[in-house]
């Protein structure tokens, strides 16, 4: 049986990960399941897609990514790349690999206190460094050269896909990546998903929203503050990706 490998940040995570004991109801997705779905755990888009395709799923995104030495589960693109690299020996002909790139501002930083490689998010003012470092890094990382660097790293993944014969697809939750690289993304050889639907200022998240995908916050009328997708979002993503992948296989 072929395998669907999924890499990315929390937008590619499964709901079931948030119901592993001990369940933390201050976590948006746990609260969503317990209080709004009567404890019934929905499938995330990777599971739905794997089922539609008839593929085994190996989800290496976000919370399922490698931690500690290689980067935190919040996942910056460097950590996501690490996860891809670590799994690369398992890719085989006809597998499908879907890579979601996260927002460019996130970066890796060794946390000496916890002795781990952490991922720093833009709102993390309590990080293990002077706040000036955070501000300087965030400003610097907003330059397009960092996006260019990410796209250069595509080359080795693309080449590996070509030489092994697995099917490779990218997408991203970062609007800046879509806006800066729209021409490259729309190139038929780019491996990006849903390229015929993307436009300047119509990135993946806006596309999903226009088709009915709602965040948890939107689904529960602001009773939970969580910008990850609820059931509607995961359904839309799995359907869109399935149709596009089937057309391209």
């Amino acid at each position: 049986m072929s395998t669907l490998f999924v890499f990315g940040d929390s937008f590619s995570e499964e709901f079931k990960e948030f119901m592993r004991p001990p369940v933390n109801l201050t976590q948006g997705r746990s609260e969503y399941i317990v209080n709004h779905l009567n404890g019934i755990v929905p499938d995330g888009w990777p599971t739905k897609l794997a089922d539609k395709l008839g593929y085994e799923l190996e989800n290496c995104a976000g919370i399922n990514g490698v931690k500690h030495k290689y980067g935190g589960e919040g996942n910056c693109n460097s950590s996501i790349f690490n996860n891809i690299s670590l799994k690369s020996e398992k890719f085989k002909k006809d597998d499908i690999v879907i890579i979601e790139w996260t927002t460019m501002e996130r970066f890796k930083w060794v946390n000496d206190v916890d002795n781990c490689m952490s991922t720093i998010l833009p709102n993390q003012f309590d990080g293990p460094f002077n706040v000036n470092v955070l501000e300087n890094v965030l400003v610097n990382r907003s330059h397009y050269l960092w996006i260019n660097e990410l796209f250069i790293s595509h080359n080795i993944i693309n080449k590996l896909a070509e030489s092994i014969g697995f099917n490779l697809f990218y997408w991203t939750v970062d609007r800046n990546i879509v806006n800066f690289k729209l021409d490259e993304i729309k190139n038929p050889n780019s491996h990006y998903l849903l390229t015929d639907k993307l436009k300047i200022n119509l990135d993946y998240k806006e596309l999903f929203h226009s088709l009915g995908a709602r965040t948890i916050t939107e689904e529960v009328n602001n009773k939970i503050n969580d910008s990850h997708y609820g059931i509607t979002g995961h359904n839309i993503i799995s359907e869109l990706f399935y149709d596009d992948i089937i057309n391209k296989l």
Partner: protein, 234 residues
Amino acid sequence: MNTLFTFGCSYTQGFNRSENNNFYRRFKEYRNGNLPKDWPTLLSEKLGFELKNYGEDASGNNQIFQEICSRCDEFNDGDIVIVGWTFIDRYRWVDYENNTWKKHGSGHIDENYITKSTHEEIVYNRTHPFYIEEIYNYEKIIDELSFNKKFKVYYWSAAENSIITNIPTEKLRKIKKYILSDQINLENNNLRQIITKKSGLTINEETNGFIPDDHLGESGHKVQSELFYKHIIN
């Protein structure tokens, strides 16, 4: 004809591609207008391979990996790729004014585009061994591409006292992709020490201190190319 690809920092770049380097210019004058062949050139000649040397001075490991990603389309069956990792504290930073990358490492920086305190925190953070793990992680995808595209890949490190030599000796001895893995160790036998023992000198030593550059001179490059050749052929 097959190709030898070399990637790394100034320890790979060699002399002839570094014309702006003041020490190398003085070295050329000292040698009456000629520069010796560097180890990538000597090695490619011994192997009978065409050479594509993509080493660049002051590169950090992220940049070296990026260069490999940029060039991996060129690798073919039977080619040899040699990657020379460098010091882990090096990193890149965007110079907004000129829209270019600036290469940084420990030491003096231009404070026009990064504050001293930010630079120092980044450099300090990057000295953690987890950044060495990042290098070994890069190797996994390069190795996988090498296996599938059927080119050979070898690694060595200009950061003699951390990358590769931090692998436990017993384990290191079995990993042939690391050049001189059968000889090097962290305590007393890194690559530079082996070159010195075989009479390979630095520019500083070859010019009797006239040019204070600790990069390898003619004899050093010759010894390095011979050591690498023997490892690859074996």
